[in-house]
Subunit: 499 residues, 2 copies
C-alpha cells in the first residue's frame, strides 16, 4: 500500500473540532511538531470565522512549543494529559482555559486503553522511517506511541529528516496486554530488550505522511551553580555512606534522576565520585550529562523513555551509534516508568520538589497550592517503588522570600509514606525509620535555611507537640498565606493565626 | 534438634531493653499473643524497679490487645511499624509516647531487609505446627513471618492449639530476592501458588516453643446500616455501569475491599448483584463476608494475607477445609499487597477514607490533621496500581458535625493522581479524565451532604476560580479549624478567614 504524502496543513484538515489526538514523543523530544503547528493555525482560522475548534491532546509527557505552546496561544486545547512544561500552556491552565489532568506517566497508556479518557481519533507520530507495510520507526522518544497508534482511527506520520535513521535499533517497542491477560514486564536488568525496534500498525490506518525537517525543541537548562553543586555533592556523600553501611549493594543500584539543572548536578557528582562504581541509569528522561558519563565509562548503560538532550548532543549520539548501540535503549513510558520494574531493579530515585514539609510530604506541582507549574510527571512512578526515594530542593526560592521547607505543603504529590530522603544545599534529612515528630526535627535542622529554622521551630511551639503529626490548622498554611499577601514568607506574624 | 519448650514468661526473659521484635500475623489474626502479653508484664516489673524497658515492634499490620494493647499500657513500645488499630496504642501515639512509622504494608518486609529499620533481635511466630528441622506452619495470616525469621537472631514459636492444623496447606509462603537479584512475583491469577506451605528456618535459631491455646482477637464490626448499604449499592451500580460501557471486562476483575462495615456492605452488594458474575477477591484482609460469598459460589477464589474473621467463622473454615482448600490462599503481605501483582491483575480497589477533598485527595489516617487513627495500611499498595481505585466514606461524621468532604484534606495519604472514584451514600463522583475544577463540581454535587454543599460552593467562591486547583490558603483548612474550635463544621464563618 503506497504511502500518501501530504502537507502538514492537509493533515491538520483531517482533525475535527472535538477530536482527541494522541502524539508520539516524551518531552519535546520525538513529539509531533509540524501537524500540531498547522493545527494551531487552523484553529485560529476557525475561531476567526466564529467556529468553535478545540481538541483533546494525549501524549507521553510534555511537548515543545510547536505543540503545547502554539495550541495554547490559539486556545485550541480543551483537555490535556498527562504532563506539560510549556509556559504558554501554564498560563492558559492557570487562567482556567484548559482542563488539565495531571496523571502518573506510566499510567497514561493504560488509562487510554481502559477507556477512561475517551476515544483517540488521530495519532500523530514522528518517525525517522515508515514502511508501506506499517512499520513506524520512532525518533528520540518512546512515549505512548504504540498505544495511540492502536487505538486511533487514523494515523499521520511526521517523517522528520532532522532525526537520523541511525536511531533505528535504539528503540525497544513494547505494549503489555491488559488485565486479565497481562503478564510480567520482563525487564530484569536495565539493558534487557523485550520488544521490537518499530511500532507495527495496520497500514490502512496511515492516512498521511508529512515530510519535515524540524529539530527537537529541547529546553536548555541553566548551568549548575554552587547551590545545585552542593545538593549533588550531598547526595553523592549520602549514597556512599549508605553503601558503606551495606544498605546499598557494593555493585550499586540503577539511578533515576529527574529533569533540570539539579538533576544534572546530581549526576555530575555521582559520576565524579571515587567511591561509587560505574552504574546504570534507569530513568525516563536522559539528559546530556548521562551521554557524557557513558562516554567516560562512568555510566554503563542508559535506559530511558527519551533522549531529551541538546540537538548537538543528539547528533553526536546518532554519529556514534556503533559506540552507543549497546549502551542506550529507548522504551515506552509504560515500561521506563513502570513501578513493577522500578521496584524489582531497586532504582534509586532522585527528583526535584517545589516544596517539602517538615513531616516529609512533597509538593511537586503547585506554586502556593493553586498554580500549576508542570505536573507530577514520572516522579510518583519512581518514588514509591524506589529502593531509596530522594527529593532535592534548594532551601529557598525567590531570593529567600520563599522557604521550600514549610509546616505543611500546600499541595501533596508524594506523601510521608513515600519519601525517604530530603536534600537541600544545607544537608540531608534521613526520614527512614522515623516517626513524624522525629522527622520534623531532622528536616528543620538539616535542610531548612537558617533564616527559616526559628520560624519553623516557632510553628511547632504552637502545636500540641504530642499528636502523631502536630499541626495547628489555622497556621499550617500560614507561610503560604503570608507570601501571597506580603511577598515574603519571612514576614510571618504567627499571632495573626492564633485565636 | 529437639524443640525447647518454655513458658511465655521464660520467652519474654530472652528479650532485652532496646531490642526490636518481629512478629507473625496481620491484623489480630495469626499474631503473637502469649509472649507479648508476658513481655508487657515484664516491662511493668522492670519499670517498677526503675529500669528502662522498651522495644521496637515490627509486624505485618495491626495486632491484638495482647500485643499493641497491653504493651502500650505498659509503656513498653519505643518504635512501631507499619500499622495498628488498637485504642490504647492510638492514645499513646497521640500522646507522643511512641515513635510510630506509618508504612505501606507491602514495603515493610523489604524495608527491614534493606536495613532501614534496624536489627531484628527476635522473631515471635504463631504456628499450628513446628518441626525439629525448622518448618514453621503459620496460622491465620501471612504477614512478614519469613522475613523476620530470616533476619532475627532468635526465634520463639507460639504453638497455638486454638488454630487447627487443618490450616496447613492454605499458606503460600514466598519471599522475593532483593535487588539486583529480584525476579517477577509470579502471580498471574489470584489463585496462583508460588511458594511453600511453611516457613523454613535454621532450626538452631528456634530458641523456644511456647504452647498456647489463645484464640485470635479479631475485632467485630458494627452491622451494616442504611448509609453503608447505600454506599455498597452505589458501588455495585457504578461497577455494573462500567462493565456495560466495556471499561471493565465482562469476566469482571478481582476485587480488593478494605476492612470494616463499609467493606462488608460493599461485598454484600457486589455479591447480590444480578449483573456481576462470580468474581475473585485479591485482597489483604479477608472478612466473614467473603467466606460467606465463597460458600454461595458468588466469590470463586479468595487470596489474602489474613483470615481476619470471627472465631466461629474461622473454625467453620477449618472444619470444612475439603471445600475451602482450592478456594483460599494466605500470602505474605509483600505478595498480597504487591503493586506489581495488583496492576497486573487489574484489581478494583475499594477503601475507606476518613475524609476526601473536592479535588480528589484522600486522608486515610489523621483525625483533624493531627491525631493518628490507624494508619495507611494497604490502601496505598492497592490504590495506585488499581484498575479502578475507589474510596468510600459516609458524607458526614459525628451526627453531621463533620463533613467528610472538605476543601482540602488536612493530611494527604492518597493524592489526586491516584483516586478515580469517590462514593458516599449520596452518590458516585467519577474523577477519571477530569481536571481539578471539574472534579470539585462532581464531588460537591454528587457526594457532599446537602447541608454542606452551600458551604463548599461558598468556599470556591472565595478562590480565583481559575487556577489549576483554586484554593485560598487561609481558608483551605477552615472547616477543620472551625470544628476544633466550635465542635461543628457547620459553624463556619468564612469572614474570619478573609482578610
Amino acid at each position: 500500500m503506497a504511502l500518501n504524502f501530504m502537507t502538514a496543513e492537509e493533515a491538520a484538515e483531517l482533525i475535527n473540532h472535538g477530536d482527541n489526538i494522541g502524539l508520539s514523543g516524551f518531552t519535546p523530544a520525538g513529539t509531533a511538531k509540524a501537524v500540531t503547528f498547522a493545527l494551531a493555525k487552523r484553529a485560529e482560522a476557525e475561531h476567526a470565522k466564529g467556529h468553535p475548534f478545540q481538541v483533546g491532546i494525549f501524549t507521553g509527557a510534555s511537548t515543545g512549543n510547536s505543540c503545547d505552546g502554539v495550541l495554547s496561544v490559539a486556545k485550541a486545547i480543551r483537555y490535556r494529559a498527562p504532563y506539560t512544561t510549556n509556559k504558554d500552556f501554564r498560563k492558559a491552565v492557570n487562567n482556567g482555559e484548559i482542563s488539565y489532568n495531571d496523571i502518573h506517566l506510566s499510567q497514561m497508556a493504560q488509562e487510554l486503553r481502559y477507556g477512561f479518557l475517551g476515544k483517540v481519533n488521530m495519532a500523530i507520530i514522528e518517525a525517522c522511517e515508515v514502511t508501506e507495510d506499517g512499520k513506524i520507526y520512532l525518533t528520540a522518544a518512546g512515549g505512548i506511541s504504540p498505544t495511540v497508534c492502536r487505538l486511533a482511527d487514523k494515523i499521520v506520520v511526521e517523517l522528520n529528516s532532522a532525526h537520523s535513521k541511525e536511531s533505528i535499533g535504539m528503540h525497544d517497542v513494547y505494549e503489555p496486554l491488559d488485565p486479565p491477560y497481562r503478564r510480567e514486564i520482563p525487564v530484569f536488568k536495565p539493558n534487557d530488550r523485550i520488544g521490537k525496534p518499530y511500532v507495527e500498525v495496520d497500514p490502512k490506518k496511515i492516512v498521511g505522511v508529512v515530510k519535515t525537517d524540524w529539530p527537537d525543541e529541547a529546553r536548555s537548562f541553566t548551568s549548575p551553580d554552587p547551590v545545585t553543586d552542593q545538593i549533588g555533592q550531598n547526595i553523592a556523600n549520602f549514597l556512599v555512606s549508605d553503601m558503606k553501611k551495606g544498605i546499598i549493594p557494593k555493585s550499586f543500584l540503577p539511578v533515576q534522576s529527574g529533569v533540570g539543572n539539579i538533576a544534572n548536578a546530581v549526576l555530575g557528582a555521582l559520576g565524579s565520585s571515587q567511591d561509587i562504581p560505574a552504574f546504570n541509569v534507569y530513568t525516563e528522561v536522559l539528559q546530556d550529562a548521562v551521554i557524557d558519563l557513558i562516554r567516560k565509562e562512568r555510566v554503563k548503560f542508559g535506559s530511558c523513555c527519551s533522549l531529551t538532550v541538546t540537538n548537538d548532543c543528539l547528533n553526536s549520539v546518532y554519529d556514534d551509534m556503533k559506540f552507543f548501540k549497546d549502551k542506550l535503549i529507548i522504551r515506552q513510558s509504560e515500561v521506563s516508568n513502570n513501578p513493577e520494574v522500578i521496584r524489582r531493579l531497586g532504582v534509586i530515585s532522585i527528583n526535584t520538589a517545589i516544596e517539602a514539609d517538615i513531616y516529609g510530604n512533597i509538593n511537586s506541582t503547585h506554586i502556593m497550592g493553586t498554580k500549576m507549574m508542570n505536573g507530577i510527571g514520572g516522579s510518583g512512578d519512581f518514588t514509591r517503588p524506589a529502593y531509596i526515594s530522594i527529593f532535592t530542593t534548594p532551601s529557598t526560592a525567590k531570593d529567600g522570600k520563599i522557604s521550600t521547607i514549610v509546616p505543611l505543603v500546600a499541595h501533596t504529590d508524594h506523601t510521608e509514606h513515600d519519601v525517604n530522603i530530603i536534600v537541600t544545599e544545607y544537608g540531608v534529612a534521613d526520614l527512614r525509620g522515623k516517626g513524624p515528630k522525629e522527622r520534623a526535627i531532622e528536616v528543620i535542622e538539616k535542610c531548612a535555611h537558617p533564616d527559616y529554622r526559628p520560624i519553623l521551630r516557632e510553628y511547632l511551639s504552637y502545636t500540641d507537640g504530642k499528636s502523631q503529626t502536630p499541626h495547628f490548622m489555622k497556621g499550617a498554611l500560614a507561610l503560604h498565606d503570608t507570601f501571597i499577601k506580603t511577598g515574603d514568607m519571612r514576614n510571618i506574624d504567627w499571632s495573626k493565626y492564633l485565636d
